[in-house]
């Protein structure tokens, strides 16, 4: 049996998590829009690619674990209980479908307008990971608002 205090703490952290994940995904998409809006000659700097890579890895970690890895096990178990695990799996499925569809779109697009390997990977990974994170954040927000 858990303490009611743990449940209330998990509730606050869960609400914060859904907001943070949503904002993080939006910032990520905004950053990538700026990336693709810049000229191809200047956009592939090591700093930009490195920042993108770090963000992608961070977002994948959040999607895989639910975040708050430094919190105690009791609160973390409440944060990642049955509903959250269900929402995370549904979000990962959404990420999978967005990845496949965007890969197909890029493939067809490349027939008419050549796309480099790096650009293709960048577009596909950005859309797949971003969509999964937004899907998780929206599902969690909706679940918190019901009642």
């Amino acid at each position: 049996m858990h303490d009611v205090h743990d449940v209330e703490q998990a509730e606050r952290m869960g609400r914060a998590r859904s907001r943070i994940f949503f904002v993080l995904a939006m910032v990520f998409f905004a950053g990538q829009s700026a990336y693709f809006a810049s000229s191809p000659a200047t956009r592939d700097s090591h700093a930009r690619i490195g920042a993108w890579l770090i963000l992608v890895i961070l977002m994948l970690l959040l999607l895989a674990t639910g975040g708050f890895l430094l919190k105690g096990r009791k609160v973390r178990n409440l944060l990642n209980d049955e509903t959250s695990r269900h929402n995370r799996l549904a979000a990962q499925a959404m990420g999978f479908w967005v990845t496949i569809v965007s890969a197909l779109v890029v493939y067809v697009e490349s027939i008419f307008d050549p796309v480099t390997f790096n650009e293709a990977i960048h577009i596909i990974v950005t859309l797949g990971v971003g969509a999964a994170l937004i899907s998780f954040a929206v599902r969690e927000r909706r679940a918190h608002r019901i009642g």
């Binding site: 858990h2 509903t83 679940a143 009642g147």
Partner: protein, 68 residues
Amino acid sequence: MADVLLNRLREARDAKGWTQAELAARVGVSRKTVNTVENRVFTPSATLAIKLAEALELNVEQLFWIER
């Protein structure tokens, strides 16, 4: 048509005088999970359904049933 799992979780919880957070603490889930099960937004696993029934001192069939 998909079967709908109905429940009387709210009535059973109210009968005990517990808040959602108190029931959640007894079962080891978040308040959000209790809330979404009560509102039939989330269908609980068999494990969670049994835990909820045990906490409320009911049989699973008294707490959950399928609308046909």
